[in-house]
Symmetry: C2
Subunit: 220 residues, 2 copies
DNA sequence: GTCTATATTCCGATAGAC
DNA sequence: GTCTATCGGAATATAGAC
C-alpha cells in the first residue's frame, strides 16, 4: 500500500546499489546524495553518518535471513533442507554482496555493527551444526561428532569469503549472480567425501542442479 | 656485514610492524614517519607513496615464499612434504598477517599489486595441486582427478582467509601466532575425510603435532 | 524536509633550505 | 638524506535559510 518510498528508504536502496556496484569503501555520503539528486545536508538529516546507513542495511539483511530460513519440517529430507538453506544464504549474499566483498574492513570500522554481526553469526553457526547433525542422523554423511563444529566453521568460512576469494582471483571481472552460485558447488564438494555410498548419487544430483544455475557465465 | 639499516629498510620494517599491529588501512605515511621520528618529507624521499611501500613489502614476502619452499625430495614422504609446506605458508602468513587481514581491500587499491599477487597465487595453486597429486599417488588420500583442482581452490581459500575469519569471529582479541596455527588444523580437517584407512593414523599424528603449536592460547 | 554554504580535519604530496 | 613549511583535495558534518 505504500508505493512511495520515503527519502530515507530511497537512500538505503541507492546505497545498497552503489555499494554493490563500486564497493562500500569507495562510496561516500556525497556520492550517495549526488546519485539521488539530493543535497548532502538532506542525507545527514536522515542518517547520522555512513556507518548509520550500513548498520541499517545490515539490520535489513539480518531480518531477511531470519524470515526466509524456516525451520525444516521434521519429515523433510535432510538434503532438501540443506539445499533450501544454501539457496537462501547465497541469494541474500548476492543481494548484499558488497558486505561480503570487504567484511573485515567494514566490521573494523564499526563496533556496534561488529556486535550485531557476531550475534547473527552465532545463530548461523548453530543452524549449520543442526543441519550437519540431521544429515548424519539420516545417514547422508558420516562424520565424527567431535569434528562437526570444526567442519561447520570451515563451511561458514568458505561461504563467508567466497566473494572475497572471487575478487582476489579475478579483480577485474565483476561479480555476478552465476559466479556467486559457484560457491554453492564448492560447499557441496566439501560435503562429498563425507557422503555415505547411498547418499552420493543424490549429492551428485544436487551438484548438477547448481551447476545449471552457475553456468550462465564463466568465473571459476 | 651490514648491521646498520638504511632509512629505507627502517621504513619497511616499521611499516610491517605498524600494519600488523593496527591494520594497514589505518596507518598513514604520516604515522609511519612519526613512529620512526623522521619527517614525512623524508619518507617521501624514499618511497613515492604508501602503495609503493606495500608493494615492496609484498615483493619481500613473495621472495621469502619462493626461497623457503623447496621442491620436495622425490623420496620424501608425501605427508612430510605437506607438513613442511604448511609450516612455511603459515609462518610467513603470520609475519605478514596485515596483508591477509584485509586482502580484497588492499588489492582493490593497487592494480600493480593485483597482478603481482595473481602471479604468485598461480604458482601457489600449482604447488597445492602437485602436493595433492603426490598424496594421491602414495595412497594417502583418495580423490577423483576431476575434483583435485576444486579441492585445491577450497584449501587455498581456507588458508587465505583464515585470518580474516578470525577477525570477524573475535574482532577484539588480537591475532597471535597460536591462533594462526589453528588454521593448519582446519586444513588438516579438510583432508581427513579423503584419507585412506592406512593413512588416517598418520594424519591424526600430524593433527596432534599442530594442536600443540596452536595450544598456547585459546582462539577457536 | 530540503537546500546552500561552510567549517573542520586529515591525508597525500611537493618545494626548497640545510 | 633530511627537515620545515605548506598546498591542494576530499570527506565529514553542521548551521541556518527556505
Amino acid at each position: 500500500m505504500e508505493k512511495k518510498l520515503r527519502t530515507k528508504d530511497k537512500i538505503l536502496q541507492a546505497s545498497i546499489a552503489l555499494f554493490n556496484e563500486v564497493g562500500e569503501r569507495q562510496v561516500t555520503t556525497n556520492h550517495i546524495a549526488a546519485h539521488l539528486g539530493i543535497s548532502p545536508g538532506n542525507l545527514y538529516y536522515h542518517f547520522r553518518n555512513k556507518e548509520d546507513i550500513v548498520r541499517q542495511i545490515f539490520k535489513e539483511y539480518a531480518k531477511l535471513l531470519e524470515t526466509r530460513i524456516k525451520p525444516p519440517a521434521a519429515e523433510a529430507e535432510a538434503l532438501d533442507a540443506l539445499a533450501e538453506y544454501l539457496d537462501v544464504v547465497f541469494e541474500l549474499m548476492w543481494r548484499f554482496h558488497f558486505f561480503y566483498a570487504n567484511l573485515p574492513d567494514i566490521l573494523a570500522r564499526d563496533r556496534a555493527l561488529q556486535q550485531d554481526y557476531a550475534r547473527v553469526q552465532q545463530g548461523v553457526l548453530e543452524r549449520v551444526v543442526s543441519v550437519l547433525k540431521a544429515l548424519k542422523a539420516k545417514a547422508v554423511i558420516e562424520i565424527a561428532d567431535e569434528d562437526i563444529a570444526d567442519f561447520a566453521h570451515s563451511i561458514k568460512l568458505l561461504v563467508t569469503f567466497w566473494i572475497s576469494y572471487l575478487k582476489t582471483q579475478a579483480p577485474d571481472s565483476p561479480i555476478n549472480q552465476a559466479s556467486v552460485y559457484q560457491g554453492v558447488l564448492k560447499v557441496l564438494l566439501l560435503f562429498k567425501p563425507y557422503a555415505t555410498a547411498q547418499a552420493r548419487p543424490r549429492i551428485t544430483k544436487l551438484q548438477q542442479h547448481y551447476a545449471q544455475l552457475a553456468m550462465t557465465e564463466q568465473t571459476s
